[in-house]
């Protein structure tokens, strides 16, 4: 040890907690389980909604959303897909946006914006079912 660093810490110990955030695995697993759920939910909604609503009729849309199975399915679809979107867009933001302020601002917009829209969409399904 001839350098200025006389500590007994190893090289690994010095870089620990200074590099990767250490929480990437959670993000990875969350994006995978939400993806697996969406493999079922997304095609179910597209085919089911296209076949049962199949046009611009307001009454047909209300009929579709007041079926209990459809209502639960749509609520699950909103929650899981918006969560999956938040994770995906976060990945896109950290990949392309380097300016710290812009990056944080976009990540907040991503999180808050999707949470507000998801809450509104879930409340809309409840409103259709249980009246204004």
């Amino acid at each position: 040890m001839s350098g200025p660093d006389r500590s007994m810490r190893t090289a690994l110990g010095r870089v620990r907690h200074h590099g990767a955030a250490g929480e990437g695995t959670g993000h990875f697993i969350a994006s995978r389980w939400s993806a697996i759920a969406l493999v079922i939910l997304a095609p179910w909604f597209v085919v089911n909604a296209a076949l049962t609503i199949g046009g611009p009729s307001y009454a047909a849309a209300i009929d579709f959303l007041t079926d209990p199975v459809n209502a639960v399915g749509v609520i699950l679809l909103v929650v899981v897909s918006f969560y999956h979107m938040a994770l995906g867009m976060q990945e896109v933001i950290v990949d392309y946006i380097l300016k710290p302020f812009t990056k944080i601002a976009l990540m907040l917009l991503n999180g808050f914006g999707l949470t507000i829209l998801a809450a509104g969409a879930v409340f809309a399904v409840l409103l259709v079912n249980f009246g204004a």
């Binding site: 995978r32 611009p56 749509v74 909103v78 995906g88 509104g120 809309a124 259709v128």
Partner: protein, 133 residues
Amino acid sequence: MAGAPSPQNRPIAPHVSIWRWHATMASSILHRLTGVGLYGAAIVFALWLMAAAAGPEFYDPLMALLMSPLGQIAMYLVVAAIAYHLANGIRHLVFDTGAGLNPSDADLTAWFAILFAIATPIGLWALLTFGGA
């Protein structure tokens, strides 16, 4: 010979303009592109639910927009994007297990995802048009 190239003139590896396009490369780019596109589609989906709750005076104008030629093209592309992101997403879930990563399998499944994205909106349109209720 002019001698060794200067550092500024050295070839840049792999550069988009001189790099041969692969199905696997397109599949990766398309996955992110369709993901971002579906982000916008999901916002419209949330607005559609809120319009349904708000009543016909909000629902009908939104549907008029979606039933217009431009709206129908957008819906067609959204179905294609869902089909692509679904097929390629399953492909990536299989990749996560360590399977299918050799070039020939990855190439084949990339082509499958692309063809699935082309076929699905045509299939759904045919089902709606000729299927009968």
